[in-house]
Amino acid sequence: MMQFTDWDILRNLLLAARWTILLSLMAFLGGGVFGLALTLLRSMRNTVITRLIQGYVEVFQGIPLLMQLFLTFFGLSLIGLEVDAWSAAVISLTLFSSAFFHDIWRGCIEALPKGQWEACRTLGLSYLQTMRYVIVPQAMRMSIAPTVGFSVQIVKGTALASVIGFVELTKAGTMINNAVFQPFKVFAFVALLYFLICFPLSLLARYLEKKNHAAR
């Protein structure tokens, strides 16, 4: 029987952690782009659009990510779209994070004083000019810290992709444990790796928050 050294365990986990990082990045980028589109659409203050987006956000914030993964993975195959575990994970994490990103950014825009909009209006700026030169730069500065903060949630959320069979850090840990039967050691390594990914992000978020407060 083959023997696993600690280094073998860690090495395999590290290889799997690449997928955790890649999946997180995809979700961050996809969710970011999609969330930004939702935010811009919503800032146009069309009642119908706003209602639709509100509904979207409620749905994706009100259902556990695990169920969203199941529904994407099994639901898409029901309508004849064969998706692999990777695609299903990317799609559901993107939708999930877009709802949260949108909510964060909408909050930042709404936190700006109404007077900023009024000043732009009285100066004759168009809606797009107002967004581009006045609203977005200020809202962005405010949103950096909570956005980075939420990316930690995304990283941890990728662990759920293991249940639909996508081999990332958690799934790799389960598989290795099935071979070595040392659950505490294996999952301690897994936990350590998650922490090593998330902790710098938390630090970054905290640093950005402080820096932002000092700037005002």
């Binding site: 007077g115 900023q116 209006r121 004759g124 700026l125 730069p137």
Partner: protein, 242 residues
């Protein structure tokens, strides 16, 4: 033809009838002070003159343009009507110079050099020529408000609406802002101000409009109004603020 003309303007917030048929004409070069208790509709009236508030009945014409709920028309109107706010509403992420130049570049399509030159002139006029590169957060309230005035003037408006522009200032900073307004009057600018500065309204203003319960309750030449108020409401108001 008056520069600003309101004709039987009615405004409701839901069931709340805030403006009850306002008639008001302001000629070019006039300085008109709108006074009254809080809740009397002064600010709402002012904000109807540049489309920040919609009215439900009547008509508002400023510089021969009808003020309507139409994005494009309101943008055109913004070249004739400037506004200064109680809370300054400067853009905190831009320098003083950038604040003043933003709309001259984007809306008036002036070149960078032209905008810069105009901005320097205007900042000198409000006594802040050394603050071009400062950020609003590092200025006093009085200085910020003077930047806001310069920002409005950069659009060369025909009338400047001032919405309680000294109310958020520490008392010792009020004078420097009022001085700028005085200078503007000398230069012939039309000013319509909602104000609590009764001395300013009396000494600098040409005409006073006293608002009460959503109506123009009493109006007349400044010295007349203060020396000789006709209605009980104005008498008790003046007694209260003095």
């Amino acid at each position: 033809m008056p520069l600003v003309s309101l004709d039987k303007v009615h405004k409701y917030y839901g069931d709340n009838h805030v403006l009850k048929g306002i008639d008001l004409k302001v000629e070019a070069g006039e300085v008109v002070s709108i006074i009254g208790r809080s809740g009397s509709g002064k600010s709402t009236l002012l904000r109807c003159m540049n489309g920040l508030e919609q009215y439900q009945k009547g008509g508002v014409v400023v510089d021969n343009q009808s003020v309507e709920d139409d994005e494009y028309k309101l943008r055109l109107l913004s070249r004739s009507v400037g506004m200064v706010f109680q809370s300054f509403n400067l853009f905190p992420h831009m320098t003083v110079g950038q604040n003043v130049m933003l709309a001259t570049k984007l809306v008036l399509k002036k070149s960078a050099i032209e905008s810069q030159k105009l901005t320097e002139e205007l900042l000198e006029k409000v006594g802040l020529s050394d603050k071009f590169s400062a950020y609003p957060g590092n200025l006093s309230g009085g200085q910020q408000q003077r930047v806001a005035i310069a920002r409005s003037l950069a659009m060369s408006p025909k009338v400047l609406l001032c919405d309680e522009i000294t109310s958020a200032l520490d008392p010792e900073l009020v004078g420097e802002v009022l001085k700028v307004l005085e200078q503007l009057k000398v230069e012939g600018m039309t000013l319509i101000l909602v104000t609590h500065e009764m001395n300013f309204a009396r000494d600098v203003g040409d005409r006073v409009v006293f608002m009460n319960q959503g109506k123009v309750w009493e109006t007349g030449a400044s010295d007349e109004i203060f020396a000789n108020p006709q209605t009980e409401e104005l008498k008790s108001f003046l007694a209260a603020v003095r």
